[in-house]
Amino acid sequence: MKEIVIISGKGGTGKSSICAALAYVAKEEVVVADCDVDAADLHLILNPKNSEVQDFYSGVIAEIDPKKCIACGLCQQICRFDAIEPFKKAYRVIDMECEGCGYCYYICPEDAITLVEQNVGKFLVSDTRYGCTLVHAHLKIGADNSGKLVAKVKSEAKARANAEHKAYILADGSPGIGCPVIASLSGADYVILVTESSKSGLSDLKRVQELVSKFQIPSACIVNKADINPGVTSDIHKYLTKNKIHHMGDIPYAEDFHKAIAMGRCLIEENKERWLPIFTDYWQDIKEKI
């Protein structure tokens, strides 16, 4: 089984739209994983049904028992995250600031501190109208550990793909280059970079590719909104050639992207004549290159 991850560096380049259209053509060959757990949008197109929902626990935060606390203040002294403050002749933990490192728990002379597992979100396994299974998740607001939730989504997708004898996992990643992106790249076989024709798009592409190359995963690129700035598009093409990134194709600026999303459809459902041949070719291309 091969894992294909779609990322972009910059947000709003059309990643999820492209992922949904690929899911449409790949249909029964794939399990789809929405790894953008922070702002998961794929379900708005794939319209999942019959979801199995599970809570996801990851990491801990400290809790101080005021009855046991002797107010020695040691925990506050050693906490590097300023997450402990005096409160009513004892100390308490500021939940939002606590990193869950456990240092206070280890050092407290009165064993007044416990570490409580955190429910950081939930993950779901659903059916979609394309016939492929969708694994997706929702991270709680302000939650840390999104990398671990991404890893969970991926491992669940893998288990489903194995059980359903699917050859591919198609994963929609999140913007940026930090923990959720790193988690979505780990173990991936092929990366599709979706960029847009703008200076910001190119700058973000370079940083995300620098990350991808650290993982030594082969990558391909789709340039969206390619006619917005022909000069930048040509710079992107040069960058791809120079860095041996397979250029899958250019997509011109198309209102269909917004129209399709507004109707809860993928591009192909919006305009089959135009988009089906393009994404059929992309999917073929991906399978040949992997």
Partner: protein
């Protein structure tokens, strides 16, 4: 006054709004713009100058001293982030996973894990007239953006506390990075677009800002694409609509070239004027 420009969804126009708003504000008042999208900062594409000052930012990471270590392995059981592993007769430190909590280093009975400074990223500072601009960039391969965001905000407190307006370009999403940027401000402007993706992600951002107890309003970018559901959403939730920016291909083209837009598109200038007058009424 410190204002954050934030959004749940990426690519809704945070940097576009932050940059144009800051430049317009700096025509009349001292303004600080901080690009805190440390994973993919783009403010520097639009605001350029030659004499940037670079602040290198480091953080402390344990380094293993094989001479002192007795391989008891306690550090590995203490580390909640799996940043230490034992490989044969060696302890390996995985810097991207380390949260710099100091637990292993200070609890180690042999003092075999002294903390050492390692690069986290850099903050570029540029001054252009009344505008001070900082861009913070995380080293590629590091996982956590919050420490660099916090360091930038500390620097702002040190150097720029006197600026009349401080605008902060937040990272996308609603996870820890966004919260660490937004929690320090007086007011939040959420920017979204009129599509189902826009509404869904805006709603997450709204819940986050409400949880933080911060006053906020919404700017709708690319008005005219998608549909009107987002305006119904705002009305139903009682959220003030601060301004609308029309969807125009020429705006996308100017943005793609790294240009400043408000001087070229009157509708954008008007929207910024509305936003600035709201901010003035608050301060």
């Amino acid at each position: 006054m410190r204002v954050a420009i934030a959004s749940g969804k990426g690519g809704t126009g945070k940097t576009f709004l932050a940059v144009n708003l800051a430049l317009k504000a700096a025509e009349t008042q001292t303004t600080l713009l901080m690009d805190l999208d440390v994973e993919e900062p783009n403010g520097g594409i639009f605001i350029q100058g030659d004499d940037a000052e670079i602040h290198k930012v480091t953080r402390a990471i344990p380094s293993w001293d094989p001479g002192a270590c007795n391989l008891c392995g306690k550090c590995i059981s203490w580390c909640k982030f799996n940043a230490l592993i034992k490989l044969g007769e060696m302890i390996l430190v995985m810097p991207p996973l380390c949260h710099s909590c100091y637990a292993c280093s200070e609890l180690c009975p042999m003092q075999a894990l002294p903390m050492e400074q390692q690069s986290l990223g850099e903050i570029r500072h540029l001054k252009l007239g009344k505008l001070d601009f900082t861009e913070s960039k995380l080293d590629v391969g590091l996982e956590q953006s919050s420490p660099l965001i916090e360091r930038t905000l500390e620097l702002a407190d040190e150097l720029f506390a006197d600026k009349e307006l401080q605008i902060l370009d937040s990272p996308p999403g609603t996870a820890c990075a966004m919260v660490s940027a937004v929690k320090t401000v007086d007011y939040v402007i959420l920017i979204s677009e009129p599509t189902p993706f826009g509404i869904f992600d805006l709603n997450l951002a709204v819940e986050t800002v409400r949880q933080l107890g911060l006053p906020f309003s919404v700017v709708i970018n690319r008005d005219g694409i998608g549909n009107n559901d987002i305006y119904d959403y705002l009305e139903k939730e009682g959220i003030p609509l601060l301004a609308k920016i029309p969807n125009q291909r020429k705006i996308a083209e100017m943005y793609s070239r790294g240009e400043i837009i408000y001087q070229q598109v009157p509708e954008v200038d008007e929207a910024l004027e509305q936003i600035l007058s709201k901010l003035r009424s608050l301060s």
